[in-house]
Amino acid sequence: MDIFSGLLSGFQIVFKPENFLYCFIGVFIGTLIGVLPGIGPSGAMAMLLPTTFGLSPASSIIMLAGIFYGAQYGGSTTSILVNIPGEASSIVTCLDGYQMAKQGRAGPALGIAAFGSLIGGTISIIGLMFLALPLAEIAVAFGPPEYFSLISLTMVLSIYLSQGSLFKSFIMIIVGLILSTVGMDLVSGKTRFTFGCGTLIDGIGLVPVAMGLFGVSEVLVNLEESLERVIFKAKIKNLLPNREDWKKSIGPIARGTFLGFPLGILPGGGAIIASFVSYSLEKKISKTPERFGNGAIEGVAGPETANNAAAGGSFIPLLALGIPPNVVMALLMGALIIHGITPGPLMIQQHPEVFWGVVASMYIGNVMLLLLNLPLIGLWVKLLKVPYRILMPLILLFCLIGSYSLNNNVVEVIIMIIFGIAGYVLRKLEFEAAPLMVAFILGPILENSWRQSLVISSGSFFVFLEKPISLGALLLAFFIIVNALVKYYRKKKKRLIFE
């Protein structure tokens, strides 16, 4: 069945009243889930899974998939409004999105995030349609050495996430990497730095750390000021991005899409890596990089587009090969299996209605999400006008419930509080949280792929240079470092001349 007739049949399936409804329910719940802290899309999908038993396979996947990419939309909302990342892929959005909110520009930030997500999501679906099979082949070309080099490249790029002292960012990266080693080591099975605490066996949780470092620390910083000072500028300027905003955002959106889509295909990090890389790239390319971290709309447009594009891309390994690249896809795979469909290379042939139905529903879903989110912007913006003395305890409660609800584990709440305090102290001392988060998230993949590569190569370090993709990524990383150092020395020389 060729692509257009397939797509047409897909739309026919989606426009059946019940499927249309399920799509809407899915994206609606997904948005709520993205906004609410702690509960992630996989939790919601797991809960709704039993209700899908009685539905047709296409219907259940349509709904469950809707929850997934709906959550990507919702996650940016809390990042922008209260500096609490709803999803790991929305952490970067906090950097500039929240600053924009503080400047009274929450509306445009939310708006550009919504539009960027639509564009990124839609284009990635087109990619999914045409390129699913060939791209899936590329995905499997990434083995441990390639992953190591790719993540190394990402980490080098993440230096650009920071505004201030390079040295301090580097310290943060090291600390982030150290924190990521807590837990059971994959290769040897030994537990590191757990000190008898059962919760730490799987490592320090990402959500408590993110909420603490970003959300709680922000609250603590705000407490310093006397209450008379308004945290959010009372005068909200516009509700939507203006022409100037669009001009600045077109580039990041385009780049974010083409960056995010292939990265989403790779098992293991997809949307998160895409958002980091997009932010770093935009900052590097920008003629005015000093605006980043102070409310540059490119810092919202790029990453938000990238993470939705990556979400679309992450369907490819599942639908084309039967390999789920992340936990959410694994759940979808479970849902498919329960309905008697085996995801794999044969799925498109055996069950075209599922494949095309889902693809078509993703188009519709993205549009629904835009229509849902845009009017909500007015609501969110009104929320910010609530006096901080009322808002602040609510924000904290939000964080507390969020970190508890993950695993019903009080230890994670305590971890969040500790990181909140740490985040506050670090900010006073002019250390930045973003590089630490990147290193913390990517650390395990980096270390594991490094050690797996060494096992596979029987101890030879040349394995990283022998494989073309790996070599390419490492060279690029090296090039970036060298350039940065050259630039530094040139500037320093210039300064000395002036002195």
Binding site: G198, P267, Q452
Partner: protein, 334 residues
């Protein structure tokens, strides 16, 4: 503050307290009677949603709800390689309302590694609910080994072949270590965090062979993207159709695998006997029904029932020893 304001304030405080009390009424559950089950049953899933154990639990929960006529609620508590969930069962009130489907190694391993406070004696198996997780030995389609025998012969002559496997705390990894030691294959294990990662590594030919659970590769196998050399349990138990079927342990080695543990439903060991008996009868009825088996086959498993007590007496001690040996071998305990 004037008297009126004071009264208002007092009234508000009372109203607050009153409302709080009403809310308590919601969270407070009345004992419906003496018969089990008196309230919702919780099924603890020690793994993340979407995985095979998760799906299996949800299927069983569906049937249990029909039989017991109370909500049977699956709750995901992943963590610690399964030990977090186990810990919850061990510390829950021993009234049979907190249950969990686990493989014995989930309990044994963390205890032997002294990572948890619970003891093996804190648990009691009610009955088996599914056959052992099917573990397959796979390779890529155009690999030089067409049969398991080819592979074994080659491996013995060329020590150090890399074989991918899931994390050491899993049953599948234990099976890999066992076969490696038993047949003296001198394979070098490459650990991966999840089954899909192993699959990608095989498809991309980054590793020559791997052990993996059947659930993860059903699709690719049937599409011819993966070749199955060997199956720990008969391939017919997995629901995957391969022609000709690869050898299983018994047919290849001529004897039963020395350890094999299926999935059992566990409860707190202090649960009263009457409750355990009720659970046993119900579970036996469910597991032996053809609908349940059908549902399991959809997710790549198959149903099989054995009584928990018999298991505890006969096979369980052996399993503890075997796991202990396996951990020693891996250098994780002394």
């Amino acid at each position: 503050m004037s008297t009126r304001q004071k009264k208002l304030k007092r009234g508000l405080v009372c109203m607050n307290l009153f409302l709080i009390i009403i809310l308590f009424a919601f969270t407070f559950s009345w004992a419906a009677g003496e018969k089990y089950p008196q309230r919702n049953i919780e099924m603890i899933i020690s793994f993340p949603p979407g995985g095979p154990v998760d799906l299996m639990t949800r299927i069983l929960a569906k049937y249990m709800e029909k039989e017991f006529k109370v909500p049977v609620i699956p709750v995901n508590k992943p963590g610690g390689g399964g030990s977090l969930g186990a810990g919850i069962v061990a510390s829950s009130p021993p009234d049979g309302h907190t249950l969990s489907i686990m493989v014995p190694s989930s309990i044994i391993m963390p205890v032997l590694r002294k990572e948890v406070n619970f003891l093996i004696e804190d648990f009691k198996p009610i009955g088996q609910v599914a056959n052992p997780p099917p573990v397959l030995f796979i390779t890529y389609p155009d690999s030089p080994w067409k049969t398991f025998k080819d592979f074994i012969d080659y491996a013995k002559k060329n020590p150090g072949i890399k074989c991918g496997h899931p994390p050491i705390t899993t049953v599948n990894a234990l099976k890999f270590m066992f076969i490696n030691k038993y047949e003296n294959l001198k394979l070098v294990g490459v650990p991966f965090k999840t089954d899909p990662e192993i699959l990608v590594a095989i498809l991309g030919k980054h590793i020559p062979v791997a052990t993996i659970s059947s659930v993860a590769i059903k699709g690719p196998v049937e599409a011819g993207k993966v070749r199955v050399l060997f199956s720990f349990n008969p391939i017919s138990e997995t629901g995957i159709k391969i022609d000709p079927p690869p050898p299983d342990f018994e047919s290849f080695f001529g004897k039963k695998p020395p350890f094999d543990f299926g999935f059992y439903l566990w409860c707190n060991s202090k649960t009263p006997n009457e409750v355990v008996e009720i659970l046993k009868r119900t579970i036996e009825k469910i597991v032996k029904s053809p609908e349940y088996d059908n549902d399991l086959r959809k997710i790549g498993y198959s149903a099989n029932y054995t009584d928990g007590e018999i298991f505890m007496k006969n096979e369980f001690p052996q399993i503890v020893n075997l796991v202990r040996e396996g951990l020693k071998e891996a250098g994780l305990i002394k």
